[in-house]
């Protein structure tokens, strides 16, 4: 537990060096966390909530999260997808108690108020009382008591929502570069759901944001990636902060196992390591540009395409020092079954047992533990220089610098 706000605000001064430093109290202050929820998750941001293939039929729903608020993603009768606050307009009970299902309408268990799929209040039992007594006032206006609906954007099957009526369009929120890469994955092909993985990681959610803006660590930490050439410093790469640092794009290529000058500096490259089942690290070529990609679409999702696995990594902050990371793996309905088979095999890279992701989970926890008690210390972000411009390589922390430049402005720190 961090200190109380009252005790700490006095000492909340960002280091003089600016965005090349990050004070560790950004990971430990509960009051700051609350402000992040308000400004980012509940403010003018577009939050990832689901893939449309998870709610295939009219009436199909799925519970999801935006920050600490639970929402319902629902397929309407017309095929469109809506997002509702999962709470009753009467006395606030969660209306929907299952993670997924299909219904004709929603009935709240407490007093059985009934809501249409779009949230409209359409039934109140005993509205006119019983035995001629009681019931709702004659002037009770049901149209004012719907379940609250959010603004929704469906980008080729990836569903986003915002609580803020004043948020810009999804395209503007992404900006052209990010939007283009999102559409590269969600370009209109029907999606096929392959499954989920979920982790509860006891670290601040921003450490995960940083991890996915840090191509430098990947070429050093992830022995499995490095050894089998799935991500390596000596590969054509790009590190592109966008929208003033809010989002980040990492690009590289799968190049296979080989030694080079760089591997001499990368201790965790294991030249002797040989697999029995080499399919696991031998992707089938899928995208013409030959790229593998990690997109950090602030604040709630990372989209990855690595080897043949495609995934949405939904970031669900739980408290200042923990977040849920929900992985959704998908493919395309019209794809070669052999590709689907490889996608499944390549999921071994990710999730709580993934050859890559497990290490990320482990280091994030160690970073949070390192922050605990040491809020007065600072991280140093000077790899790849001190500026915040896009770079055409991965030996850099530019994405993180750009992010904290933007974060300070938004958070007024």
């Amino acid at each position: 537990m961090g200190k109380t706000l009252a005790a700490e605000t006095a000492t909340r001064t960002w280091p003089a060096e600016g965005w090349t430093r990050v004070p560790f109290w950004v990971y430990t202050d509960p009051a700051l966390f609350d402000r992040e929820m308000e400004r980012f998750f509940y403010g003018p941001s577009w939050n990832y909530v689901a893939l449309d293939c998870e709610v295939p039929e009219p009436g199909s729903y799925k519970r999801s999260w935006i920050g600490q608020r639970q929402v319902l993603v629902v397929r309407h009768a017309d095929g469109d997808i809506g997002v509702l606050e999962n709470r009753c307009a009467h006395r606030g009970a969660r209306v929907c108690w299952q993670n997924k299902g299909r219904v004709d309408s929603f009935t709240c268990p407490y007093h059985q108020w009934n809501f249409a799929l779009d949230g409209k209040l359409q039934g109140i039992p005993l509205k006119r009382g019983a035995l001629g007594k009681g019931g709702m006032p004659a002037d009770f206006d049901t149209s004012q008591h719907a379940m609250k609906a959010l603004r929704v954007h469906n980008e080729g099957g990836a569903i986003f929502a915002t609580f803020d009526a004043g948020a810009p369009s999804f395209a503007d929120y992404c900006g052209p570069a990010m939007h283009g890469y999102v559409r590269r994955l969600f370009g209109g092909r029907a999606l096929k759901l392959l499954g989920y993985n979920r982790q509860l990681i006891p670290s601040n959610w921003k450490m995960y944001i940083e991890n996915l803006k840090d191509p430098y660590h990947a070429t050093l930490l992830h022995s499995f990636l490095i050894t089998f050439g799935l991500w390596r410093a000596d590969t054509q790469s790009e590190s592109i902060p966008t929208e003033g640092g809010r989002h980040g794009i990492m690009i590289s290529r799968n190049v296979g196992k080989k030694e080079s000058d760089a591997t001499a500096e990368i201790k965790r490259f294991k030249s002797k390591l040989e697999l029995i089942d080499t399919d696991s690290v031998t992707p089938m070529r899928e995208f013409d540009d030959g790229k593998v990609i990690g997109l950090s679409l602030f604040p709630s999702v990372v989209l990855h395409q690595q080897a043949n696995t495609l995934g949405m990594r939904h970031i669900i902050p739980k408290s200042v020092d923990s977040f849920e990371l929900a992985w959704t793996y998908y493919g395309y309905v019209d794809e070669d079954p052999a590709l689907t088979r490889l996608r499944l095999r390549h999921t071994n890279l990710y999730g709580p047992s993934g050859f890559v992701a497990m290490e990320d989970g482990e280091v994030l926890v160690e970073c949070q533990q390192g922050a605990s008690g040491y809020g007065h210390r600072q991280a140093v972000l000077e790899m790849g220089g001190r500026d915040t411009e896009p770079q055409d390589h991965m030996v850099t922390e530019v994405l993180i610098r750009a992010f904290y430049k933007w974060y300070r402005e938004e958070m007024q720190l």
Binding site: G195, Q199, L344, N348, S353, V365
Partner: protein, 172 residues
Amino acid sequence: MPDNATAPAAVGPDAADSAALRVELRDLYEEIGDLLDDDRVEALPDYFTDDCLYKVISRENHDQGLPAGTIFCDGIGMLRDRILAIRETQVYEPRSWRHFISGVRVVAVEGDTITARANFLVTEAMSDAEPTLFMVGRYLDRLVRRDGRLRFRERLAVCDNHHVRRSLVMPL
């Protein structure tokens, strides 16, 4: 929804569920729990057939019929590769596990295939913390006898856990 496709009919006091087989399975399940607790995971693949399917999978994926797993080994090669990868490539904080197995049951015997299941409860203790209730669920297994020993053709460790706390380092 009851687990194992053939389960409901065959469960209960049934000829298929011979006492001797149940005893043999209990010993087998505990033997595997023991080798995992004892940091001898290298011995695990010896209990599987070459064409095995080994998955750790959440109840969420399993109940929805979604194929992805937390650990997904389609063939003994992938299982051996995983163990190699854990040993040779992975960075993780040291911890201890203990397996508790209860309710080993023979669900069906059809031809040479034994369908069985059991509950597992695995505790995890970081080297500087108390043990926690880590993973709980049910093994759903299909076994065959090879060279006089029972081997898994399919082992699903279906976890009640909606999420894994931190990391699942070792197979269950």
